[in-house]
């Protein structure tokens, strides 16, 4: 008996339509059962389709916002073991007001623990964003900002990394499966000490994956360009000059030291980023930052 292709197609169609409201697993079970009954696919084939869907659906999406929050706290602690926080209330208050206002206007304004910002006490040109919305910017990077508009662009770029889940995507696939398998096994039961130990080990591994990618090796160029584009869109929406990002990159280009372990290593060259930004956006008419905004910016960052 020939198996007509279109039946397989229809099974896929059922799958796609049903998934709109049911879960992938349930839909697969339904669709494969139909296929099996119709004699289109054998029982073993049906089993294997079901199993692979289970594996696929155990993805990053299965981490709850709460779990992402704990991952973020740990990644933040690793960042702070590399650079100490800059204990200056005035500047921290200022970047939180600017950053949280930007985040509130973004597409994903609400995350489990909210967006929070802090300045790092370092001359390096560096910034980090944890999956949970903790954002760190060095004094060295703030010095690359001639205006509040430029600083807004940096914070919006980091908010972009959070929302595009770039940090979470650095976790090795095997690790994701491992963690979610432990969870699936124990279900609603209380965790035993063995499971806690097992999860803590996986957790530790996930933190290393993210920290390695974020701090040591940098994300892919694609991720950085995506975050730049997200930044342009967000600052425009709030009412900042979108040229701020290019202004900042122009200063950064002069300040970055070749061979440095900061943005010099982890990010595409500022010139490449500018070219990429300009290829995606119309030329913006340069708008001077209002004096009142410039005054408060200089006052807030002080002798950074």
């Amino acid at each position: 008996m020939k198996k007509p292709l279109w039946i397989t197609g229809l099974i896929m169609l059922v799958l796609f339509t049903v998934t709109a409201c049911a879960t992938i697993e349930t839909a697969t079970t339904l669709a494969t059962a139909v296929g099996e009954h119709a004699g289109v696919i054998s029982h073993s084939q049906a089993e294997s389709v079901r199993k692979s869907t289970v594996a696929v659906s155990r993805s990053l999406e299965d981490f709850t916002p709460e779990q992402e929050y704990y991952i973020g706290r740990a990644v933040g602690a690793v960042v702070l073991s590399k650079y100490p926080a800059y204990a200056n209330t005035q500047v921290n208050q200022y970047i939180n007001t600017l950053g949280q206002t930007l985040a509130a206007a973004s597409n994903k304004p609400e995350i489990f623990g909210g967006y929070h910002f802090v300045v790092l006490d370092s001359d390096d040109i560096n910034a980090f964003a944890t999956p949970s919305g903790l954002i760190f910017v060095t004094r060295g990077l703030i010095r690359c900002c001639p205006t509040e508009d430029a600083l807004a662009a940096i914070l919006a770029h980091e908010i972009g990394h959070v929302q595009l889940r770039h940090g979470m995507q650095s976790i090795e696939k095997a690790r994701v499966t491992e963690a979610l398998t432990v969870l699936a096994q124990e279900g609603a039961k209380t965790l035993g000490s063995r499971e806690v130990a097992q999860l803590a080990e996986t957790f530790s591994g996930a933190i290393s994956d993210i920290a390695n990618s974020m701090i040591n090796n940098g994300y892919s160029r694609t991720f950085e360009y995506q975050a730049d584009q997200a930044s342009v869109v967000l600052v425009l929406r709030v009412g900042y000059n979108p040229e701020g990002l290019v202004d900042m990159l122009t200063v950064m280009e002069k300040k970055l030291k070749p061979g440095g372990l900061d943005f010099a290593k982890t990010h595409p060259a500022p010139r490449d980023r500018i070219t990429e930004i300009q290829s995606h956006n119309q030329t913006f008419i340069p708008v001077a930052t209002p004096n009142i905004r410039q005054e408060r910016f200089l006052k807030a960052i002080g002798p950074i």
């Binding site: 229809l10 879960t23 709850t64 933040g76 602690a77 206002t101 806690v196 009412g239």
Partner: protein, 167 residues
């Protein structure tokens, strides 16, 4: 063989038919952020009228763009929440809490305090004594109110373009 084909076609059509019904049936959602806020207007610049906690169930009263006017279960208060603070999943706050799980498959259910949790964080910190969470906890206390945001924008002469939007 013909009959089988009809069954398959019928099921496919049923699948299509059911999609809009499911979409309309979603009227009760769960709060998926640690501290949820209900606002007087569909905007982050809106005054906070009430607070809801992680896992709380809310009924949707009205939809406007990315905002939903909701009413917490069993309460009379109404307020606006951004959709990113809400999920269709039910959140079981305690392991083994049976009422929440009734009729919910694992994928519809998020177990609070499970997986990478406070408990796992404690175990992780025990093995990584060099990590200091002091500033992490301090950062979480940096909060900006709707009034502060509003004043910040006005005082800095930050004006959104016509197609833009306030937070």
């Amino acid at each position: 063989m013909r009959r089988t084909q009809f069954i398959v076609v019928g099921l496919a059509l049923l699948g299509i038919l059911f999609v809009p019904i499911c979409a309309n049936a979603q009227e009760t959602l769960s709060v998926q952020v640690k501290e949820g806020e209900l606002r007087a207007m569909p905007s982050f610049l809106g005054r906070i009228v009430a607070r809801v906690a992680y896992g709380d169930r809310v009924n949707v009263v009205e939809n406007r763009g990315a905002w939903k006017k909701v009413s917490p279960h069993g309460g009379k208060i109404q307020g606006w929440m951004h959709t990113s603070a809400l999920t269709t999943k039910r959140i079981a706050l305690k392991a083994g809490q049976t009422n929440v799980q009734t009729g919910a498959t694992q994928n519809e259910l998020a177990l609070a305090g499970k997986g990478f949790s406070e408990e796992v964080e404690a175990a992780f910190r025990k093995g990584n004594k060099n990590l200091d969470y002091t500033w992490i906890n301090r950062m979480e206390n940096f909060k900006v109110s709707p009034e502060q945001m509003q004043n910040f924008l006005v005082q800095g002469n930050v004006i959104p373009p016509p197609e833009g939007g306030r937070p």
